[in-house]
Symmetry: C2
Subunit: 243 residues, 2 copies
């Protein structure tokens, strides 16, 4: 049984300002909720009778119809849970290969990038303040559970880049960069991926000290751009295969 | 001005059976339509007054409101055009690196894969008959115009694989395959990518003679899967960088 107040509370969490105010986000489905439960204590778990709860978790039972009413999915999947927003660590420092996102807007792209980071063992993603919120229900869903294993930090990105030692490797991909397949790539460093339409912003571009190019293999035609998640995957793959 | 018959005709083209019957598909937006116009003669072009028509193209002028009514997009973009379905070449033979899709279901994934093929200079994609239709409006849109430059062929995939010489390299990615980063990769060959949930089907798996693995770089956790478009990008990148 879902109360009116619960319904209203959950629906509001679609919006970033309510997630920030309540310190709480929504996750759905057996895979995503299951992965998050391995790391985080939920604030609440709503599930239909067919959900197999892990040991120690007692869900509030709901009907299929109630689940549909609280769900953000077209096809709700057995369970919806509320988790506390991870605390942002302001004393963050980079000691390994790290991703930074400069204004990525599409929730599906951010979700896919989090999943790529998880696959390639990149434990932290730094996001500019204008990057879409990672605890948006669409992003959480698109991570397929990877959001449980990757730290995500929102920060003033140009200021953060200013705080790095001048010789710290900061990578970005550009049309006039050096071929990523033949360029030397360091084990540590920051890889910056830009906005879907405009790429890396001017303020951030000025801090990139290693300009890379993902070459295309077109025959005599103008090259188009790659989707930002695809470019992230190719770049991370290229860094990791060298190890 | 759009007639009732035109509206009905265009809306029906959302469905594969009508596209097949009419031999026609829908493309939208300046980029996608512009790329297609470089290759194909349109059957019809509907555009608002602000669209800059290329030389030789005279669109049927429509209002913003009319464009909204015929469009499949949330935010219609100046132009919608109808193009003839490309003729399927049944005498197809492989002489270069080619992609094959075995049951890819998501229109966004297929669109992204077509875009990846275009980037990496892969001119042909062979699709199993249960792969989502490439001329679905959502796929066409997700290709960002690449559908104008990549040949897409629907075929009985297991039968086609049977017709290949026994030693022709047929690649697939599997959890127990050989590390793609260190394995020898040929210049010619077929790369098979499977369904989002189930991977490569049994009938097709039996024909794969080079099993590859995209290794993950997790620290001590069960590896999750990669999205099929991401796996395609990493695989194509790895084949092409060796050239």
């Amino acid at each position: 049984m879902i109360s009116k107040n619960q319904l209203k509370y959950i629906r509001q969490l679609e919006q970033k300002k309510y997630r920030r105010r309540e310190g709480c986000f929504v996750a759905e489905g057996t895979k995503v909720v299951g992965d998050l439960l391995q790391r985080y204590r939920p604030e609440a778990v709503f599930a239909t009778a067919d959900w197999q709860a892990p040991a120690g978790i007692t869900p509030q039972l709901v009907t299929d119809d109630e689940l549909r009413r609280i769900s953000f999915l077209q096809h709700p999947q057995q369970v919806l849970a509320l988790f506390p927003l991870p605390t942002l660590n302001s004393n963050f420092s980079i000691q390994e290969l790290t991703l930074a996102l400069d204004g990525v807007q599409d929730p599906g792209n951010l979700g896919t990038i989090i999943r790529i980071a998880d696959w390639f063992g990149i434990s932290t993603i730094i996001c500019s303040e204008d990057t879409v919120d990672a605890w948006n229900p669409k992003v959480v869903q698109a991570t397929m559970g990877s959001i449980a294993r990757v730290n995500i930090i929102y920060i003033n990105l140009p200021e953060f880049l200013d705080s790095l030692p001048a010789d710290f490797p900061v990578y970005g991909t550009f049309l006039d960069g050096d071929n990523i397949y033949t360029q030397e790539l360091t084990r540590e460093g920051l890889i910056i991926m830009g906005n879907e339409g405009n790429g890396i912003s001017d303020a951030v571009r000025a801090k990139v000290n290693r300009r890379l190019l993902i070459p295309d293999f077109h025959q005599g035609e103008t090259a188009d751009s790659l989707n930002v998640a695809i470019a992230t995957a190719i770049t991370c793959s290229e860094f990791r295969r060298r190890q």
